[in-house]
Point group: C2
Chain length 364, copies 2
């Protein structure tokens, strides 16, 4: 039997630094748990542009398609701010999402007990928070045509198209309902059906799928602006939230920040099941490339390590090993270890990226 | 000299209840400050649909165009949830915004000292918060064509178009820079220029207007998802935020909720200066029609009263009288008066909508 394959795209900024720690975790699983991956590495984002003049080469795209899972660090940075739109680091990531057809982006927003104090929200509002945002990731205004900037008379006009088909909505709704069944059985769907027809269709299709296939799950609908408010006011009212690409971008970042644990949060982007029964999948931390702290050993590797835990669970059927890794993370936090991003007023001395990685492995 | 004219559109839900208190405030200004308005009332939203089969009649539209200012309560409610998209209560409000060309929506997010405890955020994060969101209100995905739901093959497709012209961006950017000069001289512009070309144009135009006309104002740019995060993490970093219609919808609701003072927050929607030098203008509370508490005397009239204060300031050049009214609101809060929405754990007895209105007038 061949080993499962893992393509690592560390990307830009702190991506390579946090990924170095994940490599050590992967090595540990090979050495100690007889769980060996065929790991290969490649470029995405600004570093791919620097090397090849494009944020993602066709060769890398093909490797991603062939891998059992892709693990991505982060893309982008100020060095690339003035690039043409089509060459931006982000386009590499978007191409991966689109061509791998990773339509369900799972973003847990979880408040780690040891870090509740670090949230800007009150302890009782975020303590114990554990919600899951399911964001549609391959359609909507991110990919709709027509798009671009053109001239009309003597002025420029910028255009993007929000576009959702029934089947695009149905499949991500199913992902959300399936997840809810394994959690607290509640889904809240968010759109702006009061002002956008694409939102009307979204609401209708989610309602239909629910009635036909998941009547046992509790479903509610909320306008996305009210959703942003309710997430801020009392996030624990939610279990699973399902929403479109653009609203999901904002709302999942908001939810991540609520927890105070931004540097801690992983994500999984999943496609339809393939021949081997497992979905195409890409795993990445919710945080970005953090150019301000790049190269200083300050980055928190936990979000990326927990993204690998999600890979163990969703791509490799190793839920137990995923839990082991998650518990190791909780254990180092309970011991008081903190990277710089997790230091508040209390003036604790931070540990470095690699110290955090080593401490987690020591707990495994 | 004729009196300035004010069209009141109380709308649905708690709209009429809070507006009744504003009427008393208006009467007080007539009786005590020799400031008399020609007030007329009309229907908008669900109540207009009930009476006329449309959420806004042409007659009402014409009255709004002719008025020196429009004061609106709220629109919508569950009774109208199943109406056709084009008949929804919201369409009445959107028609007013569009046909009056009210392109700059000013939404102050201010934390009232007496209410800081009521926020879900920690006191030091929100205490003293005072930011202003300037939301573009007449374009973007709310109004772009093509739009609608149609069939493609055997499935439905929902489409909306995000569309911004250079001049639409330029004029709202100017509103933001002008406001910043009267405040802390800082503007942060938010878009998703990394994934949307309309965002690229937005960023470019804001940058150009800044360089050509407002180089003295401090300008920064942020992706809207990062903006949602930063608003949650440390909102005091902002002074004026300028953003498009859809992002503004979410971000201003988020900012309002941060303050803990949602029932307190007014808004002004302003157009270009007319022949008399004043902008066309519509004033409304940020909160909605609150069907759950309608008719119970529980609604907080303060947001609507402060919306009238904004009218005094922006439409009638009565900044001093606006300040008088704002101070009266602060005074009743300092006295400990609270409507039901402002009661937290402490178990204080709430005052009713009309008691709150009367108390504010008593402080004038
Ligand atoms: C980097 C960027 C293209 C991306 C997005 O907008 O989807 C990011 O914000 C995210 O949420 O993964
Ligand atoms: C009622 C609705 C049409 C409106 C909007 O989406 O603009 C509301 O949410 C607002 O923010 O004023």
């Amino acid at each position: 039997m061949t080993n499962p394959s893992l393509l690592i795209l560390a990307g830009d900024g702190i991506g390579p630094e946090v990924m170095a720690e994940v490599r050590k975790v992967i090595d540990w699983y090979g050495a100690k748990r007889d769980l060996t991956f065929d790991v290969s590495e490649d470029l995405v984002g600004g570093c791919a542009y620097d090397a090849h003049g494009t944020p993602l080469t066709d060769e890398t795209m093909a490797k991603a398609q062939a891998a059992d899972a892709v693990l991505l660090g982060a893309v982008g940075g100020p060095a690339y701010d003035n690039l043409d739109f089509s060459l931006k680091p982000e386009r590499g990531l978007l191409r991966l999402r689109k061509e791998m057809d990773l339509y369900a982006n799972l973003r847990p927003a979880q408040c780690f007990d040891a870090l509740a104090d670090f949230s800007s929200l009150k302890a009782d509002v975020v303590g114990g928070l554990d919600i899951m945002i399911v964001r549609e990731l391959t359609s909507g205004v991110y990919f709709g045509e027509p798009r671009g900037i053109h001239k009309e008379g003597n002025e420029r006009v910028g255009i993007n198209t929000q576009r959702y088909t029934e089947s695009e909505i149905a499949r991500v709704a199913r992902s959300a309902f399936e997840l809810a069944r394994k959690r607290n059985n509640k889904v809240c769907s968010m759109e702006k059906a009061n002002v956008m027809e694409s939102g009307v269709l979204w609401r209708d299709v989610v309602t239909e799928i629910h009635a036909a296939e998941y009547p046992d799950v509790e479903l509610s609908h909320m306008y996305a602006d009210a959703g942003a408010m309710q997430l801020t006011r009392w996030p624990k009212q939610f279990d699973v939230i399902v929403t479109d690409n653009l609203f999901g971008d904002l709302l999942s970042d908001l939810a991540a920040m609520l927890t105070g644990s931004l540097g801690m949060l992983p994500s999984a982007s999943l496609g339809a099941p393939t021949a081997n029964g497992r979905p195409k999948a890409l795993y990445e931390p919710v945080h970005g490339s953090a150019p301000d702290i790049t190269g200083q050993g300050k980055a928190n590797p936990i979000a990326c390590i927990l993204s690998f835990a999600m890979a163990l669970r969703y791509s490799f059927d190793k839920g137990d090993e995923a839990t082991r890794l998650e518990q190791a993370v909780e254990a180092v936090l309970a011991d008081g270890l903190r990277t710089a991003d997790l230091i508040g007023e209390e003036g604790r001395a931070p540990v470095s990226t690699s110290e955090m990685g080593a401490a987690i492995i020591a707990k495994l």
